[in-house]
């Protein structure tokens, strides 16, 4: 193997460039965001009840139209960050189901009274059982379900306008006559 000398001089430079690229990609990546293995799979079943009532609420109640399933809690500070956006989405006709995660009904209801409720339904998950089956590891987390009950997207951490517009709105619009785009 007789290569000209300058080729060998390039080897460290190429290796360094590769490493820089690798680290650049690595630094963009948030290690706290662990991709869910449930994307593209049917939403796990649950048998819970509506907050402050005995009305049962099950997985079947989520079928038939695209919905956002938002795990929140009155003790969750980051939930306040996404709350204005959720209220705005609800006004635009997006159906959001709230899962009151590891919370008491009283605290959850008080919190919603104080900050306004973007939820069409609020479901109580006081022990976090549904949360465990859905792979929730920190609120807020938001799942996008299509009409068949398949999880098509998961947002870990507070939802933001940018993510809504680029990722979630197109998915939801694909399954309904939802009005999207500019406000």
């Amino acid at each position: 193997m007789r290569l000209p000398k300058y080729v060998w001089a390039l080897v460290p430079a190429v290796v360094l460039l590769g490493l820089v690229l690798l680290f650049a990609i690595g630094l963009q990546h948030d290690p706290r965001v662990v991709p869910s293995p449930l994307i593209g799979k049917p939403a796990p079943g649950f048998d819970l009840r509506i907050v402050g009532a005995q009305t049962p609420f099950r997985r079947d109640d989520l079928l038939g139209r695209p919905v956002l399933v938002n795990f929140f809690a009155s003790w969750c500070a980051a939930c306040r960050d996404e709350h204005p956006l959720l209220l705005d989405l609800a006004r635009r006709g997006v159906e959001i189901v709230g899962m009151d995660y590891k919370d008491t009904d009283a605290d959850g209801l008080l919190w919603l009274e104080r900050h306004g409720s973007p939820y069409r339904t609020v479901v109580a998950d006081p022990e976090g059982r549904a949360g465990l089956d859905w792979g929730v590891y920190g609120v807020p987390e938001t799942y996008v379900l299509d009409a068949q009950g398949t999880i098509v997207y998961k947002q870990i951490g507070p939802l933001d306008e940018q993510t809504w517009r680029s990722k979630i709105a197109p998915l939801m619009a694909a399954g309904s006559v939802l009005q999207t785009g500019s406000r």
Binding site: W8, V11, P31, R32, V34, P35, S36, P37, L38, K102, G128, L132, D133, W134, G135, Y137, G138
Partner: protein, 162 residues
């Protein structure tokens, strides 16, 4: 290191005892020594997603407590280690396993370090072999050099004497 692992096993033992007491009062049965060993092994090999550099045995996060309870519960109901690992990875992905399985999405993780090591060794060998190539010294050259050296030394000693 030794004290650290010692402390870890103490913590594990305490957690295990607490969990066993909790479940014994609720269920009326206790873990056999084999089950206790399996429990300890499993909770030390599952990563806590809330505080990612701790196992669920070490973490005090509520989610870790829930998962420990699940592991305990499933051991008691006769599930195998593989079934319990499947339960957790079905919800949280392979990331929760400190020793992820070897498959299409993880081969780079398993083989990458060895590939890099081989690459580095290869590059090192090539560089070293190119670098260390002594210039051949022919006998006439050697004789001439010896003559020059002697002359220089003679000159040096003459200078000194002066």
């Amino acid at each position: 290191m030794r004290t650290f692992s010692g402390m870890r096993s103490v913590i594990c033992a305490v957690l295990l005892a607490a969990a066993a007491i909790g479940s014994a009062s609720a269920q009326g049965d206790e873990l056999t020594p084999q089950q206790a060993e399996r429990y300890q092994k499993l909770v030390n090999e599952l990563r806590c997603l809330v505080c990612q550099n701790q196992s669920i045995a070490d973490s005090s996060a509520p989610l870790a407590a829930d998962l420990r309870e699940q592991v305990l519960h499933q051991i008691q109901s006769g599930r195998s280690d593989a079934e319990i690992a499947d339960y957790v990875t079905a919800r949280y992905g392979d990331f929760v396993l400190y020793r992820p399985p070897f498959k299409a999405s993880t081969w780079l993780l398993w083989l990458g370090p060895f590939a890099l090591l081989l690459l580095a060794l290869g590059v090192a060998v090539v560089f070293v072999r190119r670098r260390v190539r002594p210039a051949p010294v022919s006998p006439p050259d050697a004789a001439r050099n010896a003559e020059r050296l002697r002359r220089l030394l003679d000159e040096g000693s003459r200078e000194e004497r002066r």
